[in-house]
């Protein structure tokens, strides 16, 4: 179908071109000599006006007039020196027209072929004529890695796609394969480390730390790797190091990159933590009153999990404090305190603007699944010890 369109476009172009080859446009009625003479005359008229208006005296007028004539004679001489084309309309032979049309068809299609890597994946996409879903994309990439098991790019894409769909463990396997094939790819190392950290409940330790180190050894100025290195340092309670790493990452980002906002907030929060370390911290809490719909009281949901957490209103959506409760044990009210904080260095009380979230999950997975039900609050301030009403 697509090639039919291409052929149509080529036919339109060929017809257009052939018409003007068959019936060439008429040349302009003026040649260069006539044009220069007319302009010389105009200059002379303007010069006479200047004389009449007393803008120049007689002597200057005569000089300027001579100069106009001299200039014109030089221009006419130059014009005569060039090869003049035959003014009579000439047509082009059928053979040449065919040759030009053939070039048009051949060159266009050849350039298109050489510019597009026309793989099976793209053919399927074009034929379906609609945007595929994430699941369809994953299926196609899986097909691709089966056909070409050494395609690093495909393995990395598979890792990313699986992560996006909440399949963290298969995602890690795909990244591991990509890592084996190309351990020097900084972007892949950063993605791999991030995914691994998520699978470890956001702990930037062990393998995560070594992957980040490898990425920085390859490119010490990778802002993404520096960002993760900051988290590794934070995990290890090295607040000053984390601050230095994030500041460096910030300096490497262009003014207009949205990631700057996230980094700036992280640095602000880090500064608050460092300030608060010197003072006895005030404890804050968030209370959630959660109302369940009639349907969720049915027996089939009783073994489902409620993931109740708060996350930063802006920036990375990692939970700050979380409780995981089976529905059968749920009483209706949950209070999140510093004891529920995910990171020891980032207590709930150290946060300000957050969103409270309740999610019902069959598996209890940290990543949101397609079948999960979720309710999110308005932005609240932890410092107010707020109570939030949520309906599920």
């Amino acid at each position: 179908m697509m090639y039919l369109w291409f052929i149509l476009m080529l036919v339109i172009s060929a017809l257009w071109l052939s018409w003007f080859l068959y019936r060439p446009l008429k040349t302009s009625a003026f040649n260069l000599e006539k044009s220069n003479i007319a302009l010389g005359r105009q200059k002379q008229t303007e010069l006479e006006q200047d004389l009449q208006n007393n803008l120049i005296d007689e002597q200057v007028f005569e000089q300027a007039k001579d100069e106009i004539v001299q200039t014109l004679s030089v221009e006419i001489e130059q014009t005569h020196g060039t090869t003049a084309t035959d003014d009579t309309q000439q047509s082009v032979s059928i053979g040449l027209i065919m040759l030009i049309v053939a070039f048009l068809f051949g060159a266009s299609l050849l350039v298109y072929q050489s510019l597009t890597s026309y793989t099976t994946v793209t053919e399927v996409r074009v034929q379906s004529e609609k945007v595929p879903t994430l699941a369809q994309s994953i299926a196609r990439i899986k097909q691709r890695v089966e056909e070409k098991p050494d395609d690093v790019k495909a393995w990395r894409m598979l890792g990313l796609a699986l992560f996006e769909s909440g399949e963290v463990k298969p995602s890690l396997k795909a990244y591991e394969r990509a890592y084996q094939l190309d351990p020097k790819n900084v972007g892949m190392l950063v993605e791999y480390a991030s995914t691994l950290a998520v699978s470890q409940n956001n702990q930037f330790t062990g393998r995560v730390s070594s992957l980040v180190r490898e990425a920085l050894e390859i490119n010490a100025n990778s802002s993404d790797a520096l960002y993760l290195a900051g988290w590794v340092a934070l995990n290890a309670q090295q607040l000053d190091l984390a601050q230095k790493l994030w500041q460096k990452a910030l300096s490497l980002l262009a003014e207009n990159q949205p990631e700057r906002g996230t980094l700036q907030r992280m640095l602000n929060e880090l500064a608050q933590i460092q300030n608060k370390d010197a003072q006895p911290a005030q404890q804050h809490q968030v209370t959630l009153n959660i109302t369940l719909s009639e349907r969720l009281h049915q027996a089939e949901f009783q073994n489902h999990y409620l993931m109740i957490y708060v996350k930063a209103a802006r920036g990375r959506p990692m939970p700050i404090a979380i409780q995981k409760i089976q529905l059968k044990d749920f009483t209706g009210v949950v209070t999140l305190t510093d004891e529920n904080s995910v990171m020891p260095t980032k207590k709930l009380s150290q946060s300000s603007k957050v969103l409270a979230v309740v999610r019902l999950s069959k598996s209890g997975s940290a990543m949101r699944q397609a079948s999960d039900i979720e309710a999110v609050s308005q932005i609240i301030d932890v410092r107010d010890n707020p109570t939030v009403e949520l309906k599920l």
């Binding site: 179908m1 697509m2 369109w5 291409f6 476009m9 080529l10 172009s13 257009w16 071109l17 003007f20 080859l21 060439p24 446009l25 008429k26 302009s28 009625a29 003026f30 040649n31 260069l32 006539k34 044009s35 302009l39 105009q42 200059k43 208006n53 007393n54 803008l55 120049i56 200057v60 000089q63 300027a64 100069e67 001299q70 200039t71 221009e75 130059q78 084309t85 035959d86 309309q89 000439q90 047509s91 082009v92 030009i100 070039f103 048009l104 266009s108 350039v111 298109y112 510019l115 793209t122 996409r125 004529e129 994430l134 994309s137 990313l160 262009a254 207009n256 949205p258 906002g261 802006r314």
Partner: protein, 636 residues
């Protein structure tokens, strides 16, 4: 499938451009008129396919086709439709496509509105324009394909840079590109003349109106950019000597010199060397601007695309254009000699002085922009050249330029008499000095006093010149009127820029609820902040009542937005007027209902853009002068 058609349309445009160069060249070589006359139809074909390609990319944005990488990277479903349209040129690939489209629009305009140009000249010009098109279309197809597909289609796209989600972006880039790309027209005229070996009156006459129109667009684009930076960036500034601003300013300075040089060359057949070099430099600086922005060697609000491969391509293209055209210039240098003499005191000398000063100003900006990059690339350390350097150096060059600018119009062609010039100057100098003296007693700022003298000097000379012309001829002609309007525009800009810089007031303060702060007699009362929900952002909106002499004159509502990507944005609130702007930017919450705010009082800031608009109007008036509608007497 539509993106693939868009991609193929671009390829067809490239093939059309190749044929636009090859077939007419063959026709000129073989003396075959039918092949030579193909330049126009092939150009129109090229334009049509670029237009199709552009329309299909716009369609991809409007239907949220995130399978196209460029769309997924710069748009999302929540983005309002108007910004989906402007997002087409909001990043690298689309803005390059816009560049190619604008180039084809200019070329089509030349092919349609050059009826008085002999076919042999026009065909040469279209061949040169075709060559430039090939360069840009190859650049698009090889390094910046806007129709590249994603194998994994995201459910939601990313975000158009919030800085660019603004009305200013809808018109600023197209206008600036019209100016940038417009500089390719005088370049093509010059190159075609050099190739033909005929640097004659025809070339000079018909390239001037095109140069004037390109210069008008460049002026308008820069004015729009300055206005956008003022209200969108939240700093209250109108010019930052940002490297990318400089990249557009350099071609403007050269184009200003070129329009003046062309007027001498056209009228007196002198300065041909200048004119040729300025035309080559103008377009080369436009390409350099593109190189600076697209290569990623600069970091500024404009460098939204950075890719060394792209930078390398443009650098090679730039070297070919500059190297090729300068080689042609060297080859044909003997054709530019003129025996037309002029005295040191003449209009030719005045315009030559001004041209030298404008080129010097360009070199000041050029060195300040590129010197840090050169040092860095040679590993000799990092330095930063900021506003203090540009302010001092540029002003030092431009003060004599403004003084001469006012006088040059009074000088006579070829030679003038000193006593006649002194006779005119002494009167205007007396009036300008009186105005300046009054200003000096009223205020104590040396910069404003100097600006008052220069502005009144220019305006008085311009009005006197107009009165003189009206007395002599009755109808001054639109070209002459254009010159007067543009020069007055310079004076208005100069005065506005100096006053706003010297007398602007800026206050960074904390304001509690119902607290009042007074600046220059204006009382700003903070009435609190409310939550804000936009199509693709949330945020806060402040309310500030402004009163003057006890009477409320405005309620300003500055915003602080948080876009989907998390990027914060400040939307300043402005109460504009011809004589002052009141400008407020909302900062951060400081707790207990208090907020940090930036309040500005900006006197005469609108004069800066008013001046720019007058310059643009002047250029357009000059471009549409009756002289350019010359009728030839053609005998059948």
């Amino acid at each position: 499938m539509l993106p693939e058609i868009g991609h193929f349309a671009l390829i067809l445009a490239l093939i059309a451009a190749v044929l636009q160069v090859a077939l007419p060249s063959m026709g000129l070589w073989r003396g075959n008129v039918a092949l030579t006359q193909l330049s126009k139809p092939l150009l129109w074909m090229q334009f049509f396919w670029i237009l199709v390609s552009f329309a299909l990319l716009m369609n991809a944005f409007l239907v949220d086709d995130f399978s196209v990488k460029y769309v997924a990277s710069n748009s999302n479903t929540q983005l309002p439709d108007i910004f989906k349209i402007s997002a087409v040129w909001g990043a690298h690939e689309g803005s390059l496509l816009l560049w190619a489209l604008v180039l084809s629009v200019w070329s089509v305009a030349v092919s349609i509105f050059s009826k008085r140009l002999p076919s042999e000249v026009l065909n040469h010009i279209l061949i040169i324009l075709g060559l430039i098109s090939i360069g840009f279309l190859l650049f698009l197809l090889l390094t910046s394909n806007p129709f590249e597909r994603l194998d994994i289609v995201p459910i939601q796209g990313r975000e158009l840079n919030p800085l660019l989600q603004d009305f200013g972006l809808i018109i600023h880039p197209p206008m600036l590109y019209m100016g940038y790309v417009g500089m390719s027209i005088p370049f093509a005229f010059v190159l075609s003349s050099l190739i033909r070996g005929q640097l004659d009156s025809t070339w000079l006459r018909w390239s001037r109106p095109w140069t004037l129109v390109a210069w008008a667009f460049l002026t308008f684009g820069i004015v729009l950019g300055s206005w956008w930076a003022y209200y969108e960036l939240g700093w209250g500034g109108w010019w930052f000597w940002d490297p990318v601003e400089n990249a557009s300013f350099m071609p403007w300075l050269v184009a200003t010199a070129l329009v003046h040089s062309l007027s001498v060359s056209e009228k007196r057949s002198a300065f041909k060397h200048w004119t040729v070099l300025l035309a080559i430099s103008g377009f080369s600086l436009s390409l350099l601007g593109t190189f600076l922005v697209r290569s990623g060697i600069l970091t500024s609000v404009h460098s939204f695309a950075s890719d060394p491969a792209r930078g390398f391509f443009i650098l090679v293209f730039l070297m070919l254009v500059v190297g090729g055209s300068l080689s042609l210039y060297a080859w044909r240098a003997n054709l530019m000699c003129s025996n037309n003499s002029f005295e040191p005191l003449s209009r030719e000398s005045g315009l030559l002085t001004n041209n030298i000063l404008l080129v010097a100003a360009t070199l000041v900006v050029f060195s300040g922009t590129l010197y840090p990059l050169l040092l860095d690339s040679l590993g000799w350390g990092k330095i930063s050249v900021g506003a203090p350097y540009f302010d001092v150096m540029f002003t030092a060059v431009m003060i004599p330029a403004v003084l001469v600018m006012a006088l040059a119009g009074f000088l006579r062609w070829k030679k003038d008499k000193l006593d006649r010039v002194v006779d005119i100057t002494i009167h205007t100098a007396f009036v300008a000095s009186t105005i300046t003296l009054i200003t000096y007693f009223a205020i104590d700022n040396i910069y404003v006093v100097l600006a008052t003298f220069l502005s009144s000097w220019v305006i008085l000379h311009s009005l006197l010149l107009l009165a003189q012309r009206l007395r002599q001829r009755g109808n001054p002609g639109t070209a002459f009127l254009g010159m007067v309007v543009a020069h007055i525009g310079i004076a208005v800009f100069l005065f506005g820029a100096t006053v706003t810089t010297q007398y602007g007031v800026e206050k960074d303060i904390k304001m509690s609820l119902n607290e009042t702060v007074e600046i220059k007699g204006y009382a700003f009362t903070f009435k609190g902040v409310s939550a804000l929900q936009g199509a693709n952002y949330t945020g806060n909106k402040g309310v500030i009542d402004v009163a003057y002499q006890g009477a409320k004159i405005a309620t300003l509502k500055p915003e602080k937005r948080q876009y989907v990507t998390g990027m914060p944005m400040t939307e300043a609130a402005i109460d504009p007027s011809l004589f002052r702007d009141l400008y407020i930017a909302l900062g951060e919450s400081l707790g207990e209902g208090a907020w940090s705010l930036r309040l500005y009082y900006k006197p005469l800031i609108r004069w800066i853009w008013l001046g720019g608009l007058l310059i643009m109007l002047g250029a357009l008036l000059a471009a549409f002068d009756r002289r350019y509608r010359l009728k030839y007497k053609v005998k059948s």
